[in-house]
Amino acid sequence: MRISLHRFLTLLGTLACLALAQGIAQALDPRVDLANLAMIFVLASTLVAFWLPAWASALFALTSVALFNWSFVPPRGSFQVDLSQHALLLGTLLTVCLTVSLLMARLRREASLAARRAREAEQIQQLGDVLRAAQHPQAMTESLDQALGALPSQGTALMLLNNELPITDDPLAAQWQGVVLSPAEQIGLWLCLRDNRAFGAGTGLHSELPAWYLPIRGPQAAWGAALFRLDPLKNPDPDLQRHAQMLCDLLGQALHRHHLERRTAEARAEAEAQKLRSALLAAISHDFRTPLASILGAASSLASQSERLSDNQRRTWLDQIQDETRALTAMADNTLQLVRLEAGQLALRLDWESLEELVGAVLARVRQRDPQRRIRARLEPSLPLIRVDAPLFIQLLENLLDNALKYSPADAGPVDLVVRVAEDTLLLAVKDRGPGIPVADRARIFDMFQRGQGRSACRGSGLGLAVCRAIAQAHGGSLSVRMRGHGGSSFELRLSLQQAPDMLTPAEDVEVSP
């Protein structure tokens, strides 16, 4: 049997201590009697029991008693013992030395075991905390890799499934981490994963292997497997294996939790999308039908009763067809935009835009629905450029103005469009003198398919404000409603301003005041 260096050194130390005790005893020999010399050896074996392992201190005890007998017990230089005089002394000496060294060894083993348990408990707690805080399986796996790496091993590796368990052992179906593996080790990890069972040295299963293969266990199946290479010269430590398995199981539980959370989030998103789809379907089936009905009504009346209608009547029907078609187009635009915004599929095309221009473009479109010119635009002079997606911003503004026209009676007064800058925020307000919005409705009006109550005369898909809010949010802004002092509501868009890029004015362009 090969004796390891460690054992050899321990043996040397034992002998050195023995020699030291012997030396001291010999130095004291002429001055003290036999019983006191024996105490030197008791002291020595007690002291060495602090450092030496049990086998070495027992060896020390036996050897020191033999040495004492040989060197000091008369007749000196022989193992002969005067039974009546010294047998008791030697017997007591042997018993005390052995008892002390064995007790000391047990005490030390228990103390070291307790310290190790505490370390392990702390490591488990730390890993648990890290796993709970981690958002991604990758981070979780790395934390286990680190935890296993902190244990005494000849190298560790992890294999984690990406998704489902593949039919064949496809290395691409899993994430690999840690030391480079031999083909046999890879096969071992797959086997461990598929069987969801630990094996390797000292486990009673494939005990000939110089490593542990530990499954990363979830409640149903393994999520992966860990390899724990061992020193082939040392006996495998079952406590260490239990601890490593516990660390692996922590990851397995964390992965399971993560999996459940993701499934829940997916289900929730799917439910939301489903809700949006059914709401849109409801809008299409109900709100789109209304303008379609009046178009068909007017057109069929013109087709079948044309001769009996007055010129005036015919004109009205024709106007109605045009108006309703425009309204339908706006509703189609809103629906489409909302679906895109809600789905997050819309990439904003941001550019530096002039508010004056944007307002101008909106007014050009809205004036068709505003024959009495109720909209009054009041723009602060020299407004800064804003960075927005022009068509979306125009849609927002158009919806707000249309709403104001629609929900405030024609004789209620003007609709004011106010744009001004307060510090680094742009405030755009559309103010009407309509009936306002009841407190109970204020929070809901920006939701989809909510319309002001009790105004069946007004039509719309209830999408307008939802689109407005989605557009405002996509630009990092906010849209809110406030009731005005003397009746009516004020819809207010707030947008934080950015510094527009510098501009070089050509020298020839500098205005010279006359």
Binding site: D351, E356, G360, A364, L385, A390, P501, M503, E508, D509
Partner: protein, 232 residues
């Protein structure tokens, strides 16, 4: 008689447009597919093309590209809501203008008139005089009058205005304006345009927030309102 090629795959819309154009006294050829349109354009002299993009056998832009290699026949795109990027690409590819469906007949006829005026069958010199609702611009004299009052413009403002006058009634893309007025290095600097258009409106428009001359095509470019009188 002016001859129009109408490329549109929807039967009802095709019939409707054909009737309205014939009522206006135009000769109309119709095509329902790309192949049909390609064949027609090879054998028939056409003064203007109305082109739908989504055709059953391909994209209408193919026809535009083929046409532009040989002729400058005006092409108006009629399409279901193209994106801004698409509009710009079409204008760059040589389309004269675009109309998003649905559109009114009045709008269509107005756009057709503008397109024909700019690139009629006979080559005309560039437009140098623009008169519309009190705004009078004479490029040969470098003179701009608002309601009889002479207006002073800076050189850049004048260059910008002149560029729009030459395409009066048509949309001119941001890139085209920036390249022609500021130079090809500046095609990304839309904020130049915003500021100078603001200055021009302040000088020429009665209500800058509701312009009647310098119209904005959001996300695409600018259009000088289609004038009633224009001389070359």
């Amino acid at each position: 008689m002016m001859c129009v090629l109408l490329v549109e795959d929807d039967r009802d819309l095709r019939a409707l447009l054909r009737t309205t154009l014939e009522v206006e006294g135009l000769a109309v050829h119709t095509a329902a597919s790309l192949v049909e349109a390609q064949a027609l354009i090879r054998h028939t002299p056409v003064d203007l093309v109305l082109l739908d993009l989504g055709l059953p056998d391909g994209d209408g832009q193919t026809l535009l590209d083929e046409l532009r290699q040989r002729r400058n026949t005006p092409v108006l795109i009629i399409s279901a809501q193209p994106s801004d990027a698409r509009k710009i690409a079409l204008l760059d590819a040589g389309a004269d203008d675009y109309l998003s469906k649905p559109f009114s007949v009045a709008e269509l006829l107005a756009r057709m008139r503008v397109a024909l005026r700019h690139r009629g069958t006979t080559l005309r010199p560039a437009i140098t005089r623009y008169t519309h609702e009190g705004l009078d611009i004479d490029l040969s004299l470098r003179e701009v009058m608002v309601r009889g009052q002479k207006v002073h413009l800076t050189p850049t403002e004048y260059k910008l205005l002149a560029r729009l006058v030459r395409n009066a009634g048509q949309v001119v893309t941001h890139r085209a304006l920036l390249a022609d007025v500021w130079g090809p290095d500046c095609i990304e600097h839309t904020h130049y345009l915003r500021l100078y258009m603001g200055q021009l409106r302040a000088k020429l428009e009665r209500e800058p927030a509701e312009p009647r001359f310098l119209l904005t095509e959001p996300g695409v470019g600018y259009r000088l309102a289609d004038p009633i009188h224009m001389r070359s």
